[in-house]
Symmetry: C2
Subunit: 344 residues, 2 copies
């Protein structure tokens, strides 16, 4: 299929006996253009199937109207929702998105960052990979004054804007709830403590135990990679433990669902023998039986807020360098998997 020639503003200008400048202005809704002229131009543009050339325009304007998004994965409900939120706001503000995901690998994350840098994105939104240990691969953006805003998995102590929930409070609420349900020996299944989200939730767990006078036991902490296999293994270890835990706070709903199944297959009743609380409020919370008590992690809202902040900054309406950290509300959602007391 041979490429037909593209229509340019020059073609329109020539046919209408105008200058390209006038055509350009008319197409951009420039105020100082005669209404009639403008109509002639837009009509002809339509008729000829004109489409503006973004590359020429961007080259000239020296900006890209593009935001780069770096995610550690795409498979969780939370991430999809967050992405949907980002996309919604970006689209409304007429920004394009370049989405890159690191598959939980720092190396890929760095490559993606470099790629986005070369693509000259106007700003970056990022959630860090499992094994990312520093932010040096984002330094080029800093140097050029390109804003980077982190969410979900962030370095809380580092410079830079971030949007997060209070993960410590989440862990605290989940654990307190289990204690209030009468649990005395509460295990915690989590993931790499290099990631703020997991480390903070653990802190919340510890804090709740301390506050309620429940002894903390390091043997009750299981650090796994959150895959199905690892979840089954962790559940089996908990089953073997003596005395056996009577409650588990699990940092991820999918993992929690798998654990509940594994417990049930071993003849252990949930919540009667072991109460379970998850994290995220994924759809599977309502599919698993008993339904899963969890901490709501509102992806859509977070995505929208991240994107809105970045875009406001880009448009000079605010400055994210002033608002270092934004904390989004997230609350405990109680369902059957943890209800020992009010069990019918």
């Amino acid at each position: 299929m041979s490429r037909e020639k593209e229509i340019t503003i020059y073609d329109i200008a020539r046919q209408l006996d105008l200058s390209a400048a006038t055509v350009s202005r008319a197409l951009k809704d420039h105020p100082a253009i005669n209404k009639i002229t403008k109509k002639r131009i837009t009509d002809l543009a339509e008729k000829l199937g004109y489409r503006s050339n973004n590359f020429a325009s961007n080259l000239r304007k020296q900006n890209t109207n593009t935001i780069g998004v770096i995610l550690h994965e795409l498979r969780s409900q939370f991430m999809i929702s967050a992405l949907a939120g980002i996309e919604k706001i970006a689209t409304e503000a007429n920004y394009d998105l370049i989405i890159a995901h690191s598959s939980e690998s720092w190396k890929k994350e760095a490559a993606n960052a470099l790629n986005l840098f070369h693509k000259r994105v106007d700003g970056v939104i990022a959630s860090l990979a499992f094994d990312t240990e520093n932010l040096s691969h984002f330094a080029p953006f800093e140097r050029k004054g390109i804003p980077v805003i982190y969410f979900d998995r962030v370095f809380e102590e580092a410079e830079g804007a971030k949007v997060i929930i209070n993960n410590q409070k989440g862990g605290y609420d989940a654990t307190t709830h289990l204690i209030e349900q009468g649990c005395k020996r509460i295990a915690h299944i989590t993931a790499s403590l290099n990631r703020n989200v997991y480390a903070e939730r653990l802190k919340g767990y510890q804090l709740a135990l301390a506050e309620k006078g429940v002894k903390y036991n390091e043997k009750m902490i299981y650090i796994i990679d959150l895959t199905e296999e690892a979840s089954i293994r962790a559940a089996k270890e908990i089953i073997k433990m003596r005395p056996r835990p009577d409650g588990i706070f699990i940092t991820n709903d999918f993992c929690a669902a798998v654990c509940i199944q594994t417990l049930q297959e071993a003849g252990i009743r949930v919540p009667e023998d072991i109460a379970v609380v998850g994290f995220n409020n994924d759809v599977i919370c309502k599919i698993i039986e008993p339904k899963l008590t969890t901490i709501n992690y509102p992806g859509l809202e977070i995505g929208e807020i991240v994107a809105r902040n970045l875009i406001n900054h880009l448009q000079g309406k605010s400055n994210i360098r002033l608002t270092n950290t934004i904390i989004i509300k997230s609350e405990l959602i109680i369902r059957g998997s943890s209800l020992k007391k009010t069990k019918k």
Copy 2:
């Protein structure tokens, strides 16, 4: 933050007392360049933090190396997997992606198509919205010879390349399996028959019934929008039906999971009283109890194949106008929700 000046090939050329042409060639691994010259150039480029300007390059080269992806939604496992497959292949081939989703609305789909057209994507990958009734909004691509390749939700009878599974066979296999399990009255919960995937699955269902001498009853067909609420409503209607169905083939796993719960809450045993087969092989199949029998719909593979075909076409390695339809293998996966016979 004031924009510092960007380094261009001219800056490098000047400092090295070379021409911009040479610098451009060196940076592009052009063969006819002195190795030493090249090293000097790449070193200095690195040192100065040079980044090539895609817009200038694309403007000059007259192509965008970008593929537009139009999806009807982003929430299903299948779509995410398909997107991951597309992204993998595109990234490997150095194509960017612009992802647009229509939220199941034809209007948004048309707007997205127009937007991608103006962005001058080199090619398009699309899965149609719920209420899309024709492909006229893709006509501009046709006219310009920009390839469009459809997958999942397509118009099977229309012109154009498509990648699909044999949905009719899926419906047939699911239904035959239920009949073989001893079901005599099999209901079918599905969605808008304007969509090929649902219409074809229904055909397969009808075919299986006919072949096995089971009477087809239109009252057993529930056409819903696949939301949680609609699924619950459909399940409740089935519960009230007399004689009550003893098997249900449901066109979507999430919907099937909700139905199973609704049945169980009404005291109906699955699979003993009613056997259930879903469609997609979503993760929830293994979370719901009993585990859900389903038809595997391999998103990752489909995404990869769609993207590979499009890119091969773009690179002139093949021509999708010759291979009209590609059918991907998909098979029945038997789990507990349908096993009446071998029930322990």
